[in-house]
C-alpha cells in the first residue's frame, strides 16, 4: 500500500535521512525505531508532505506522492499525528471531531442558511460518526468539555479519534505513547490493534516505548544516524547485533 524507496533528505550540509526504504501492507503495523536524532521524524515529515525529500520515491496506492502538499496527502487518506498533542484546545471535544470532517460537509453558505435537507443529513452523519468515535475511545462523557482541559492521555486518544473520523487508510503516529503512564500505554496498545483489526487501517508508528513496539508491530525498521540499520519482525530486530550495538554502544 505504501512504499518508500531510497528516501533521502538533506538540510544544507547535513544528510538527515540517507537511502531509507520501507513498505507497509494493508492492515499492517510498521514501527520505525532508532536512537534520538536518528531521523525518524524527518522520514515522517517527508512521507506526510511537510518536507520535500531531496531524493527517493514515496508511493501510496500506486501513485508517487513525494513533494505533494501535506493537504493533498491527507486527503488521499494518509493522516498523521505529532510528537506533541495538537488539538484545537479552545474548542470542545466533539467540535474537534466535527471540524475534522469539514470536507465531508456541505459548506455552501446558502445551504447552511436555509438548512437544506442535504445539509442536515450530512451534519447528522458527521455527528453520528463523532459520537461513535467518542464512545470508542471512551470520551463520550467529556464530549462538551474544552479539549484543552482533558488529561494528557485523554488528549492523546482524542487525537487518534480525530484522525479516524476522516476515515484514513494509513495512520502515522509520532510517539503516541510519550508521556503516558503504563495503564494508558496498555489502552493505547489495544486501541491501535483494534484500528488495524476492525477498521482495516494500516499504521506507521514512531515510538520509544519498546514494550509497546515489540508487542504490536508486525514489522520494525531501525534507523541510525539517518541510515537504515535493520528491518524485520520484532524477534529478528531484537536479536540483531547491529541494533544491540546502536542502542547499547560498542565495547
Amino acid at each position: 500500500m505504501l512504499e518508500v524507496r531510497n528516501l533521502s533528505m538533506r538540510f544544507g550540509g547535513l544528510l538527515a535521512v540517507d537511502q531509507v526504504s520501507l513498505d507497509v501492507q494493508e492492515q499492517e503495523i510498521v514501527s520505525i525505531i532508532g536512537p534520538n536524532g536518528a531521523g525518524k521524524t524527518t522520514v515522517f515529515n517527508c512521507m506526510s508532505g511537510f518536507y520535500k525529500p531531496s531524493g527517493g520515491q514515496i508511493i501510496f496506492d500506486g501513485k508517487e506522492i513525494q513533494g505533494k502538499s501535506d493537504h493533498k496527502i491527507s486527503l488521499m487518506g494518509m493522516v498523521r499525528t505529532f510528537q506533541h498533542v495538537r488539538l484545537f484546545t479552545k474548542m470542545t471535544v466533539v467540535e474537534n471531531l466535527l471540524v475534522a470532517q469539514h470536507r465531508h460537509l456541505n459548506t455552501n453558505f446558502m445551504a447552511g442558511l436555509l438548512k437544506t435537507p442535504d445539509y442536515r443529513e450530512r451534519e447528522r452523519k458527521a455527528l453520528d460518526r463523532a459520537a461513535y468515535w467518542l464512545e470508542r475511545v471512551g470520551l463520550m462523557d467529556l464530549a462538551n468539555r474544552e479539549a484543552g482541559n482533558l488529561a494528557y492521555g485523554q488528549q492523546r486518544r482524542l487525537e487518534i479519534a480525530r484522525c479516524m473520523v476522516t476515515e484514513p487508510r494509513l495512520l502515522m503516529l509520532d510517539e503516541p505513547a510519550a508521556g503516558l503512564n503504563p495503564a494508558e500505554t496498555r489502552e493505547l496498545n489495544q486501541l491501535i490493534n483494534s484500528l488495524k483489526e476492525d477498521y482495516n487501517v494500516s499504521v506507521v508508528l514512531i515510538e520509544h516505548d519498546m514494550s509497546l513496539v515489540m508487542e504490536i508491530s508486525d514489522r520494525i525498521t531501525v534507523i541510525n544516524q539517518g541510515r537504515p540499520l535493520a528491518a524485520g519482525t520484532p524477534d529478528e530486530v531484537r536479536n540483531n547485533d547491529d541494533v544491540i550495538k546502536a542502542y547499547l554502544g560498542e565495547t
Partner: protein, 307 residues
C-alpha cells in the same frame, strides 16, 4: 438632574459612535485571529462601503424612488457587495501571494493596497467631501424643556439596532455554523486545520469577506450619522477601530465589541466634559496605558507556551 441628563447624552452619543467602531474593529480582530496580521486596508474598505452606499442612494433618488426602507436596503446590499469583494480582492492581491514570508512583507503590501484604494477614490469621486443625505431624521427628547434635554435620535437607534443584529448574527455564525467552526479551528492551528482537510484558503477569504461586510454596514451608518464622506473618511475611523481591537484584545471578537464601546464612550465623555480637541489624545492615551499594563488587551488571553 440636568447633570445626569448631560451625562446620559454623552453616554448615548458615545455608545452610538462606539458601536460603529466595534463593527469596524471586528474586521481587524478576525483577520488578526486567523493569519496573525493586521489588515491595513480595512479602513479603506469601510470608506468604500460608505461611498458605495452614497452612490446607490443618489442613484435611487434620480430614479425617483423615495420609499425609505427600500433605499436603505438597496444601499446596504450594494455597500456590502462592493466592500466584501474588495476585502476578498485585498486578501488575494496583498496577502495570499506573500503569505509565509517575513511579517513585514504583507504589512507593506497591505499599506500599498490602502494607499491605492484611497487615491483611487480621490480620482474617481474627487477629494472634496460629499454630502451624505440624512435619511433618518427626528428623535426623542426627554428632560425639562427649560434646562438641559437629553435627545436620542432615530439615527442613533438605527445604529444600536443594526450593530446588535450584526453582532448577534456574527456570534451565532462563529459558534454554530460549519464555516464558523472551521474559522475557529484555523485561527487556533492553521497547519493542523490544513492537514485535516479544511480548505484554509477559503476560510481565510471568508474572514476578510465577513470583516469587510461589517465595515460596509458601519460605512453606511456613519455616513448617514456624520452627513458627509471624503476619501480620508476611512483613515481615522480605521485607526480608531484598530485601537478598539487592541484595547479589547486583538484576536478576540467580544474584545473588539467591548473595545469599540469603551473607546466611543471615552471619546464622547472627553468631548462633553473636557474639550472635543482632547478626544483623540484620550483614546490613544488609553491605548498606551493598555499596552503598558495589559498588553494582551482587556479580553485577550496571554499566550502561554506549555512546556
Amino acid at each position: 438632574m440636568p447633570d445626569f441628563l448631560y451625562f446620559l447624552q454623552q453616554l448615548i452619543n458615545g455608545l452610538a459612535i462606539g458601536s460603529a467602531y466595534a463593527l469596524i474593529a471586528i474586521g481587524y480582530t478576525m483577520v488578526y485571529g486567523i493569519i496573525g496580521m493586521i489588515n491595513f486596508a480595512h479602513g479603506e474598505i469601510y470608506m468604500i462601503g460608505a461611498y458605495t452606499a452614497l452612490i446607490a442612494i443618489t442613484g435611487l433618488a434620480t430614479l425617483g424612488i423615495a420609499w425609505l426602507p427600500l433605499i436603505l436596503v438597496v444601499a446596504l446590499v450594494c455597500a456590502v457587495l462592493v466592500s466584501s469583494s474588495m476585502g476578498w480582492a485585498v486578501e488575494r492581491v496583498a496577502y495570499r501571494p506573500v503569505r509565509g514570508r517575513h511579517r513585514l512583507i504583507p504589512l507593506i503590501s497591505a499599506i500599498g493596497m490602502s494607499i491605492f484604494l484611497q487615491n483611487y477614490v480621490h480620482l474617481a469621486q474627487g477629494s472634496r467631501n460629499v454630502g451624505f443625505p440624512a435619511l433618518i431624521q427626528g428623535g426623542f427628547q426627554f428632560g425639562d424643556p427649560d434646562s438641559f434635554q437629553t435627545s436620542i435620535s432615530y439615527m442613533q437607534i438605527t445604529i444600536f439596532v443594526a450593530t446588535l443584529v450584526c453582532m448577534s448574527a456574527l456570534t451565532l455564525f462563529i459558534s454554530h455554523s460549519r464555516i464558523g467552526r472551521a474559522c475557529r479551528a484555523v485561527s487556533q492551528d492553521l497547519g493542523m486545520a490544513n492537514l485535516l482537510g479544511i480548505e484554509t484558503n477559503r476560510i481565510i477569504s471568508a474572514t476578510f469577506v465577513i470583516g469587510a461586510s461589517l465595515a460596509a454596514v458601519a460605512g453606511l451608518l456613519l455616513g448617514m450619522y456624520y452627513g458627509s464622506v471624503d476619501p480620508l473618511f476611512g483613515f481615522i475611523a480605521g485607526l480608531k477601530a484598530f485601537t478598539a481591537a487592541v484595547l479589547g484584545g486583538i484576536g478576540s471578537i467580544p474584545g473588539a465589541m467591548l473595545g469599540g464601546l469603551i473607546l466611543g464612550v471615552s471619546e464622547s465623555m472627553t468631548s462633553g466634559y473636557l474639550s472635543g480637541e482632547y478626544k483623540d489624545v484620550v483614546s490613544f492615551g488609553l491605548l498606551i496605558l493598555i499596552l503598558l499594563f495589559k498588553p494582551t488587551g482587556l479580553l485577550g488571553k496571554p499566550e502561554v507556551e506549555k512546556i
